[in-house]
Symmetry: C2
Subunit: 236 residues, 2 copies
């Protein structure tokens, strides 16, 4: 049940004396994720979270030493469902794609999920289990350990970068002109011939297609490299 690193006040009372605590780590993370969904990361403050849990802000610090530690536990919780179902296909490239899609879905499942994840470095079981599975798929496909690890990092970094942009584009819309509109204006104002031609794709909101394209590129590149001994350096 425990999240990221060893929780400071998580050891249960030796004897269950006194009234039960109003707070605990798991419930705090749950409420924090709900508040994240409602209000967004910028509005997720320790005070607002405390209010949502009917407690004063200071009380949260018995369970999380810093706000960053809470965010790390939230990031860890985001990946909770990634390995629930078994991977459907025996083909390594389909397994890889499936894992990447699940990670994207996990980050998308909450507002600003990608930003939360990008800002933290959990070493919890969901995060490490996901990475282990990813590398395992590649190793079982006979990729050399170094290549498997680097390919996994690439996949995760691409997924993170993509989802960060996807979620950033998804919202806004409240105040100023939305992103695509500003891009359209800027492109027509100055001379960007290639942006002008590709504007429909660049402003498309079919992020699933964008993601699938990039993912295919990576997997095709991996297929081209092919399983076997470690790839040579950048030399030749």
């Amino acid at each position: 049940m425990s999240s990221a690193s060893t929780p400071p006040g998580a050891r249960a009372a030796a004897t269950t004396r006194g009234r039960p605590p109003k707070l605990d780590q798991a419930r705090t993370v749950e409420v924090a994720l709900a508040l994240l969904d409602e209000a967004g990361l910028d509005a997720l403050t320790m005070r607002r979270l405390a209010e949502a849990m009917d407690v004063r802000a200071g009380a949260l610090y018995r369970y999380f030493a810093t706000k960053h530690e809470l965010l790390t536990a939230m990031a860890e919780a985001l990946l909770a469902d990634c390995l629930e179902r078994p991977l459907p296909s025996p083909d390594w490239s389909e397994r890889l794609a499936e894992l990447a899609h699940r990670m994207r879905a996990a980050l998308l499942s909450r507002r600003d999920g990608a930003r939360v994840y990008a800002g933290t470095h959990s070493t919890g079981r969901h995060t490490l289990g996901f990475a282990d599975t990813l590398i395992g798929v590649l190793r079982e496909a006979d990729f050399a350990p170094d290549d498997a690890a680097r390919a996994a990092l690439t996949l995760v970094n691409f997924t993170l970068g993509h989802t960060l942009e996807e979620q950033a584009a998804l919202q806004v819309a409240g105040d100023g002109p939305a992103d695509p509109e500003r891009l359209r204006d800027a492109v027509t104002a100055a001379q960007y011939p290639h942006l002008a031609v590709t504007l429909p794709v660049l402003t498309s909101t079919d992020f699933t297609a964008h993601f699938a394209f990039g993912l295919r590129l990576l997997i095709d590149g991996l297929r081209a490299a092919g399983p076997g001994p470690a790839a040579p350096g950048t030399g030749g």
Copy 2:
């Protein structure tokens, strides 16, 4: 000289009467980037920046409507040098790799540069010029417009995701145990066979090699797809 969108107070005084302003957009961005390098993004506050410019915080709001607008101008400035030198090779894959390396170098050039860039969406000339050039390289290699645009997005998102992680790993080191150490402990404590085997690569600080690997994957994937009409959907 102007950055991102139309600057509010940027129109020069009709007649140069009165003492010259202590502030202007360009110099503010310069000082902000210097402060970023010294103190990091979390310590880059409007008050601290104002202090560095010998002015009260409120004065900054004549040049930037919000802190986010200042950060956008900073992100735009980060990419300033990406297109200064001409691309050395006529080969499209080498041109692409060169551009990606330049973007990474630009983000790395300042502390938390990737975080600044990830948090904003500039439509300034450096950002758009870079994207236009990227897509141009692919179009000139006879990739279909849609593929060229999507490949460019993939390249940028991977570079952003990678550099975000690289810069996050680079620092810390001040307070708690560094990232690699926590990872090592977590991996040995629980059962992550594939992480255990690849720990040396995963904790390696040769981020240039990691980046080159991912970049090669993308470019090889692009070569496999090959120039020509737009690639088919995810169908088969």
